[in-house]
Subunit: 292 residues, 2 copies
């Protein structure tokens, strides 16, 4: 039996995956202690009908090491060097299961999910860009997930967009995330208007509110340039755009694709920009498939 | 016996490679017709002592398809869809050889050479950035050369540095090459001073000539940001900086590395920026090793 888990900063979701689809899932507020999280996962597995040999893939926010099964650092969870695979295996074995556990960064898992069962099916070279509070990303090159030197392959949100530009949450200046991440969009709008709104609320105001239009115009420009970076540096065939902000802002992906095509120019083959298909289940599905 | 060939816009070099080093080579002005180039290669092989079974790797400027052995498009050579592997095999067989031919883009071959026998030895994830007239590049990820969707993997020179910036030779605006490629540096200096000098001549004037300092300051800023792009998007361990301009501008790579470290900020592990070691022989060696 195959299961996936998605450990985010606020919630944990565990689901049973059959033929690349989530057939049943359980969602809870995530606990802070790794051992308690391991218990949450084991409890969920049992409730989802797990018995005997089970494969479980866990997508976790933060820097993870798939080789050792450790969460190296997860700022959202407050974890440093947590041996999550060991914790999950221990608790699951106590519960009578024979678990095979795989750990991956949540965004990498989501990109893998889209690659295998979503908007990236049928190609070999894919980039995923997920716009939520920040901007996460991942790369599949020649059919393999790129982890990079320190597990941060595809973390495109912190590539530079404007030299010496806006200060980013990461401490550097001018990162793509500082222009097109949800939090950055909201902060930019607040600087202009004094009003605090969600990125998706600012999105629907674009036609009537020039500040909203200005903020989103800059964010779209940044995302279009990010597509250009991905096509130039990695020469991917397709970029999947996803994440909460993309899901909630109707037509955003099309605007980004159009702005990107305008930048590419004639004589260059443009990369395909498409919307993610698995939405909130991408990490869960991808993590499960990485456990195969 | 193992041979490498480097077909550039002006010269062709063919060399015998033993243990990752060029033991003997022949250099000629490159002909324009593919068949004549094939004859140049076969003649050089014979002069270099080839007989019987030979492996030859050819690094060629332009977009190539290693699977089919074709040069898809080489603007410098004026070639479109040239079946170079077939031409070389035909001529070499007529000359009594039993050739095994591999074709690769010249910059990709150079990066592979540095990866196997130069400044990239001992690591798994490497980017190469070669600054000459333009900026070429290549990527090795998890020990494999990245070709990308259309053979342009690692062509980092045409990633964007400044949105809507200087017009690049490629037709787009703001590419890294438009700020830090040799031709762009020379054009920038000419715009400021009316004087046409080589990039390396402008480099030595930096201390006394404020225009030269300004041009190179911008180029170094661009190259430092390019390192940031490579570390963020691909999370490589090391970037090898090479090419004619880097070779002729003493201390340039150190300046780029220092500027890049200044951008990275604390708490981020910086990628290692080093100078290429194989210099003019990187393509020849790398192409030969790709034929193994």
């Amino acid at each position: 039996m195959l299961f996936g888990a998605d450990i985010g900063g606020s919630h944990i979701r565990v689901g049973r995956v059959v033929a690349g689809r989530v057939v049943q899932k359980i969602e809870k507020v995530v606990e802070r202690s790794p051992k308690t999280v391991a218990h949450q996962i084991a409890d969920a597995l049992l409730k989802l009908g797990a018995s005997g040999k089970v494969r479980i893939g866990i997508g976790c926010a933060g820097t993870v090491c798939p080789q050792t099964g450790k969460v190296v650092f997860s700022p959202n969870l407050g974890w440093h060097n947590v041996d999550l695979a060991f914790e999950v295996i221990s608790v699951a074995e106590e519960a009578g299961l024979e678990p095979l556990v795989t750990i991956e960064n949540d965004v990498n898992a989501a990109v893998w999910g889209e690659f295998k069962c979503g908007a990236g099916r049928g190609i070999r070279n894919l980039a995923g860009v997920f716009v939520g509070t920040g901007i996460g990303g991942g790369l599949v090159i020649d059919g393999k997930l790129v982890r990079g030197a320190s597990g941060r392959g595809g973390e495109v949100g912190h590539a530079p967009f404007e030299a010496g530009g806006v200060r980013c949450a990461c401490g550097r200046r001018g990162c793509f995330e500082a222009y097109a991440g949800g939090r950055a969009i909201e902060a930019h709008y607040e600087r202009l208007t004094g009003e605090r709104l969600k990125a998706s609320e600012i999105w629907v105001r674009r036609e009537k509110d020039s500040s909203a239009a200005q903020v989103w115009s800059k964010a779209i420009e940044a995302l279009a340039h990010l597509m250009l970076v991905l096509s130039a540096v990695v020469n991917v065939e397709r970029v999947v755009l996803g994440g909460g902000v993309v899901e909630r802002c109707n037509g955003l992906a099309d605007k980004v694709a159009a702005a990107y095509k305008g930048l590419v120019g004639d004589g260059w083959s443009a990369v395909d920009v498409v919307v993610a298909q698995l939405r909130g289940e991408a990490t869960l599905v991808g993590a499960a498939l990485l456990a195969l």
